[in-house]
Symmetry: C2
Subunit: 135 residues, 2 copies
Amino acid sequence: MLPSRLTNHAAMTANRIVDRALAQAGVRRYHYALLAALEEYGPASQAALGRRTGIDRSDMVAIVNDLAERHLLERAPDPDDRRRNIITVTAEGLGFLTHLDRLVADAQDEFLAPLSAADRRHLLDLLTRLVEPRD
Amino acid sequence: MLPSRLTNHAAMTANRIVDRALAQAGVRRYHYALLAALEEYGPASQAALGRRTGIDRSDMVAIVNDLAERHLLERAPDPDDRRRNIITVTAEGLGFLTHLDRLVADAQDEFLAPLSAADRRHLLDLLTRLVEPRD
DNA sequence: GCGCCAATGTTGGCTTGGCCAACAGTACAT
DNA sequence: ATGTACTGTTGGCCAAGCCAACATTGGCGC
């Protein structure tokens, strides 16, 4: 079996499990990525969040819309730079993120279920080396 | 870093390398998958090839068209079952597949470059366990 | 001040992949 | 004979990722 195919297969397995978990909360992976980035970096503009999450700023519009409609974050114009919107997680959004964190953590555990703790550490080490920038 | 995200990242790295290699020959991954399946299983109907490669039979039509136009395979009606087309690799197709095999093998090597031979074996073992069917 | 360039949010569109429905033609079991 | 299942094909839908264009705004040099 080709290593690249095996890696793809494993990624698809992980995605299936994680997506199913997130679907229980009615969100997609990019919603989770955005909320997580907001918690990690604090309030930021849509463009900055896009850079951090790898989401195109044109796609970011709809994602922020989704979460704002559910009152999980707020979009407010930046008084210091009227081009920007400042995106802030609401208290409800923080609680929701905690819930998502739990769902995702359980999903990771399900994904890695066939491996021992030592195997898991080793896998993460190997994968990390594969994705590190090359020269 | 979440294991699922790490696995996805590694898969994207692999895909980037493999796709770039295949693009040198002007084919996509599914073209290679089809040719490889044909070599492995011998001539078969489009539906059977679709089942083996995971390609939908409606998408298979265009893929066979692509490769038939380049004379890498032949599409002939099955005299024993007039519903079926029998797909056969041409001699030119076999030579081309050999070339692709070489490109893909080099791509695997590039993908795994950061790992020692022992690490590679271990990685494949771990990934294999992750994709094996669960109960 | 003016002029120019860059950044931002937004809309719209394009492409790729994967999936499904429908259909006509064919095989096959009952 | 009749119904059921399979095949190839066309057509369409949807999700993701990407890019172009645009108006607005900021910041720079001069």
